[in-house]
Symmetry: C2
Subunit: 470 residues, 2 copies
């Protein structure tokens, strides 16, 4: 099956009709069934076709979510959590219809514990809203997937981003979750203690489960102290391989880079045009260091020496906030910049992740594949983790173009898996990468299915995601 | 039920007899049933009574482990993984009999990838053996639970230790696992990529599952570069509270301490006697910093200033290896040193973990409880994580003494839970803390039971651990 040709799953029409009536009565104006609202909740930032739910509940509390799940459970109707709709692999599509639970009104910051460097927020709080709220505390939440996603959604998709090399992903930064399970019961997975050996790790079972095991309603997160100083800059390299070698040496030397991002030559051309960056059109690393004043200077100097060893440089770095902000805005705008390379096209953003020793080889083969397929597809990556994105520019209305892009994505994922990597470092499986799960996990898929069956026996939690039909 | 009065569970005599015959034929001399060997595998470093398995297989490969599990699965016989026997909560007891799988001969280091800072080892490799092997690579594995435990066992119990504040626990440091599941099937949970969003996190489901969901046969681990410089020292404080305040400020300031250990006044007295340490008998912090030469000096100086703010000091620190080694040997010998406080007694080592803002209060209440119960019980802790140990000195042959110790442990665990903490930060549940699971996890226990039932429907994998009878 081509992804662009997604089939609907069997609908439980009677159950859906009954549930719509119950929810209308229970939630009144907070339950919406207009086509515009349903369609807005039926697809994500992706080329995959829209599959709208039958209705949307704007939940304001865990109790609201329980109310929806109980109604859906009683009538075996799908229930799909919705954060900000910024996921990339069809995570919130409703292939069998059902009810979307929009958590955007669950936007309360429940507690901030400055002594413990943690906070608890409702699922709909976005990462930018949290960081704005934290501004006066000297603390910040580092995980930065680009989009201003909700923290519940980021937990559900095991999101990460540019800072992960230093601060980890949602896997490492969620201390505990509150979630509503498929039977409408509520579970709190852990507590605020930094570590525990008490039983199965339900927190990390739910992180990355994409709403297929439960709906996250609150998240307890680690916070970080805002560093005393930040330095950053851009360093050109003669080749992707040279840049990757510099990354490996930097990580091996234990230099605690906060960000180390690769931009390939084609993407640099796009960013020069879109963001008016004045750098050569060769592969570049964008870096940032967080430490004391002395520390950030020492780290930047050390990196510059490493870069020179591999023919890179000059590494121009600064601690001036405005100059750094311009660089990182350009990096974050990579998605939009890429579209200047093929006006009118849309970018399909895909990601893969490999051990860093294989990164140069993986990117080189990927660039060759792009050439072979005649695609325009720049590459950017969180290379400290071995994670990179390819932005495939395509005409979403041209089946041949979509077919080439899908072939490219499948080959990229298989290449990454064959290099002891993964089909997705941070975007998740959703619908888009279900077909790769058996290839990546083998018998692990059967173990995952057993867990899904145990926790959601009627398959009402975001059906048709992560696990391919058995 | 008092723990010291552990009941046996129902035995499947016919199945056990059949399985013993099969294993004898299959494994020959590598299958042992002598009483001495069975008893050696039937208890851990604990006061809990011995519950010996019916036989022990010395496995040499994943295929061997599969052979044992398949035989046990066919005849519904318990199968219990055994690493080095250093766990503390009755993890390897065999309350329903069955077969112990000793992994100590699975001691091969499969691969070390220096470019990627990772390695794959068989489950029986101990942390000291790994670090000896790594010596020439410039890398090390940081997790240090005190005992020279096997890495499979450390993964199974989600172990940590003194370095966790800097490097995390086994939860953060296992990249992937190979395991044999209850039906004898083999699963590899992940790959060497640093991060992934591809499906449920089976790695972290198995980490901490104490052999109740599967038997870990290989572990892929993150490694760290050996720091350029290490500094360390001891800092006395006027009170536990002052020491804890200094810890909170140190963590908040973002000083990347590698170790920050609290030793209370009573334990300092024991260590003065046992390890000939020349420090006051007041609460002390033992610290270590890993960084560049300049960095470790800067960090130690910064900590000294923080300590002085809370009335602590002088903070005497050094980069001389021998002096640091003496301090850390004393810290690691705390268990043995404590026994000088009550000659002839044995130490029951228990642990709990709370958010660091509650640590001073939790320790103060614990010290008051020790006094109330008339116990001799010094305290040491990995306070950067809010984790601390109490070593209760008791006569293992005196039921009244055991009763007091058990009451103390239960009250300590409940105190920690009530402070948003956990009954165990790193020792695990085993048999010893099963009775606290409902109190700590509430409905989460039902979710854990559903997972256990799905993955081990006949309850053959280390039965009678973690999950209390429903």
């Amino acid at each position: 099956m081509a992804l662009s040709d997604l089939k609907a799953m069997a609908r439980n029409e009677a159950g859906i009709a009954t549930t719509l009536g119950i929810l209308k009565q229970k939630f009144g104006e907070r339950f919406q069934t207009s086509q515009a609202i349903r369609e807005q909740h039926g697809h994500t930032t992706t080329y995959l076709p829209n599959q709208a739910p039958d209705g949307v509940v704007f939940a304001e509390s865990t109790a609201d979510v329980q109310g929806v799940v109980r109604a859906c459970a009683a009538h075996r109707v799908p229930v799909i959590a919705f954060g900000t709709g910024t996921s990339l692999e069809g995570h919130v599509n409703a292939p069998a219809g059902g009810i979307s639970v929009d958590t955007s009104r669950m936007d309360k910051i429940v507690t901030v514990n400055t002594d413990d460097l943690d906070c608890t927020v409702e699922a709909g709080v976005t990462r930018e809203a949290l960081n704005t709220y934290l501004r006066d505390t000297g603390l910040f939440f580092p995980i930065d997937p680009g989009a201003n996603a909700s923290l519940g959604g980021m937990a559900a998709t095991r999101a990460s981003g540019t800072n992960a090399v230093r601060y980890g992903t949602m896997r490492e930064n969620v201390l505990s979750l509150r979630a509503v399970m498929a039977d409408g019961s509520e579970v709190t997975t852990s507590h605020r203690a930094r570590k525990s050996s008490a039983g199965y790790d339900l927190t990390r079972l739910l992180v990355g489960s994409e709403g297929t095991l439960g709906i996250i309603t609150e998240v307890t997160l680690k916070l970080q102290g805002i560093p005393q100083a930040i330095s950053g800059g851009v360093c050109p390299f003669p080749s992707v391989e040279a840049a990757c070698q510099a990354v490996i040496t930097t990580i091996q030397m234990g230099i605690p880079v906060a960000r180390i991002e690769l931009v390939n030559a084609l993407q640099m051309r796009a960013m020069k045009i879109y963001s008016k960056l004045d750098y050569p059109e060769s592969p570049c690393l964008f870096l940032e260091f967080h430490d004391s004043d002395a520390g950030v200077a020492e780290q930047a100097e050390s990196f510059g020496e490493i870069a020179a060893e591999y023919g890179g440089g000059p590494f121009l770095w600064t601690t001036v906030t405005e100059e750094r902000a311009k660089l990182w805005k350009a990096r974050h705008d990579a998605y939009w910049a890429s579209q200047t390379l093929r006006p009118g096209a849309r970018a399909l953003s895909t990601d893969a992740c490999v051990p860093i020793s294989r990164l140069a080889e993986c990117i080189a083969e990927t660039e060759a594949d792009i050439e072979r397929l005649g695609l325009i597809a720049p590459i950017v990556g969180h290379v400290g983790d071995g994670n990179f994105h390819t932005l495939v520019l395509m005409d979403p209305n041209d089946p041949a173009d979509i077919g080439r892009a899908e072939e490219f994505v499948k080959r990229l994922a298989e290449r990454a898996i064959s290099m002891d990597g993964t089909s997705t470092g941070e975007h998740g499986i959703g619908q888009g990468k279900m077909g790769l799960m058996e290839r990546e996990h083998g018998h692990g898929v059967a173990v995952m299915r057993a867990i899904k069956q145990a926790l959601d026996p009627n398959n009402i939690m975001n059906p048709g995601k992560i696990l391919p039909a058995g």
